[in-house]
């Protein structure tokens, strides 16, 4: 198990290197730089600024400097926000995303899991057909449509909840963004849990357990729960990655100060260090989530454990 972990962490390094390099190359290949603006700067000032951010050095030296700083966990200074490091910007934005993302996933797991289980107990009945029909709808409506619609209904028409802004620790400000982000995943999770539960309950070993005279709750909890969780766990890897990108939209719509907005404004303003920093951070988070998923998998399934 320890070897598996080490191995995974080692393979993560080249992946991160690829991501960092791709981001760096793309940005520097592009025509134009961060300090080309409409108003022409005095050449001396332009030079001073560029040398401050080492933009006057040859590209390969910039690249090595960048990798060296990355290795130390330093994303460098922001080009846009003077005297602020990218690390500080991320540290400001990340809690917002962590709050919305975890609230959204929790909502999706609770709502989707419950719906899927209820549907699975009576496949074909209205308790199955109705929520699953809604789930198909939920999958087809993107976050950037549901988010404005939620604002329209709950903030603008009903005045129940605020339409945006961020107040740390306020659940009223958290609820709508989290809900918008959660809806597609709720739909996916409901479908996955339903299918997995129906499949698990149809397994011959469930019949074996029934034939032993075990009560239903023991059969469900001891014998059927784990196989039901497996597909859900494997969905959580991509889901967590999706929540990251989804939060870009949600932050935009609700005007929240998270790293998604930091990234978009950074990209529009050619803030190289912000863009590469956030991209590498996203990559690291995705790798981390996938590792977590694999660990869950191994924890749940002895056959996977044997292979790792």
């Amino acid at each position: 198990m320890l070897r598996f972990l080490l191995q995974r962490l080692l393979t993560a390094i080249p992946t991160l290197l690829v991501i960092a390099t791709l981001a760096f190359v793309l940005l520097h290949l592009a025509p134009g730089g961060p300090f080309d603006s409409d108003k022409v700067l005095v050449p001396q000032i332009q030079h001073a600024i560029e040398s401050r951010y080492h933009l006057d050095e040859p590209l390969w030296r910039q690249y090595l400097r960048y990798l060296g700083e990355l290795a130390r966990g330093d994303f460098g200074p922001s080009f846009q926000y003077r005297n602020t490091s990218v690390n500080e910007l991320i540290a400001q934005g990340l809690p917002v995303d962590a709050a919305i993302g975890s609230a959204a996933l929790l909502l999706a797991l609770l709502l989707g899991g419950a719906t899927g289980l209820v549907a699975a107990t009576r496949p074909g009945s209205w308790r199955d057909q109705l929520p699953m029909g809604l789930a198909v709808l939920g999958i087809s409506i993107p976050v950037f449509v549901t988010a404005p619609l939620l604002i329209l209904v709950f903030a603008m028409r009903l005045h129940w909840l605020p339409s945006g802004d961020w107040v740390a620790g306020s659940w009223r400000h958290l609820l709508l963004p989290a809900l918008a982000l959660a809806l597609p995943y709720t739909a996916y999770i409901a479908r996955i849990v339903r299918a997995a539960a129906i499949e698990a309950l149809g397994q011959p070993y469930i019949r074996t357990a029934r034939a032993k005279g075990l009560p239903t709750h023991v059969i469900v909890l001891r014998h059927a729960l784990r196989p039901t969780l497996m597909p859900l766990v494997s969905f959580l890897g991509p889901a967590l990655a999706g929540v990251l990108t989804g939060s870009i939209v949600v932050e935009q719509v609700f005007g929240l100060p998270g790293i998604g907005r930091l990234f978009v404004t950074g990209a529009l303003n050619r803030d190289y260090t912000v863009v590469t920093g956030v991209t590498v951070l996203y990559g690291a988070l995705i790798i981390g989530f996938n590792l977590l998923v694999d660990l869950c998998y191994a924890w749940l399934d002895p056959r996977v454990r044997a292979r790792t």
Partner: protein
Amino acid sequence: MADSPAPLLQLRSLGVSYGRGIEELRAVDTLDLDLAGRECLGVVGESGSGKTQLLLALLGLNGPAARLSGSIRYRGMELVGASSAQLASIRGRRIALVSQDPMSALNPYLRIATQLTEGARRHLQLGRRAALARAAELLALVQIDAPSERLRCYPHELSGGMRQRVTIAMALMCDPEILLLDEPTTALDVTVQAHVLELLRAVRARTGVATLMVTHDLGALASMANRVAVMYGGRLVELASAQQLYTAPRHPYTAGLLRSLPRLDQPLPARLPVIGGQPPDLADLPKGCAFSPRCPLVHARCASSPQLRAFPDGHLLACHYEGTPSQVAGAWT
């Protein structure tokens, strides 16, 4: 049927059906069968003959879509329509099941120890240690080496034959009175099949558990069963002692099945004979005798369903044909 004064298990016009009205599908149709203490009754049939549904009916496990009719009495206690609490007290405790495929009958997520002991801990109120000791004892009974180490294994760490022996041990945990075997050897390699049959005979000799074994393999039954019932299209078509059934079958279907077995005492024919046609489709059974489309002795009277009739020696038969066993056998050549 007067095999024994008080049969352990008594089935009277048992029916298992799915769907309603014209879509009704009778997996088991008005079946009468007795199982006496200590005996081994074999039930033979192709897929779709209703034999597995029969086994499940004995445990009330046919699923929510199935409807049971008639009566199943275990020691005088009615099981058709029994409450789930009553059934739970029977399942695993009095009547235990060994499933067909040992690969899928064991839960891949749980240790052998958990799966072996959970029934006994519940039914016999055994503590953890006592249950584990009992499990190790039974693994030894089914000839598994180093039982206490195997208990810590997961199913995927055992071979197919070993898993089937574990499921047999699992069924015996609560010392049941009736053992239901659902094609216990079908999913196994031929060499392993012989071992498992041998083992089952040894277990029966030792525990005296009454056994109902369902299979499509008459060869596997030959060494096990005292009596053999033949099912076709959900109905009982022939029932006799194993001796009679193997040597002098009266139903053309049984005779056909026996003819298709390779015989060790005779030279192997160039091609093993088969029964032509398709196994019966329960959704679309022929009128009258279900076997008539494939029967070499088919006759106009076969358009009506043959009733089960008894011969003086206790042999039961559902066929209109009046000839002798040798005439029946002759019809196939």
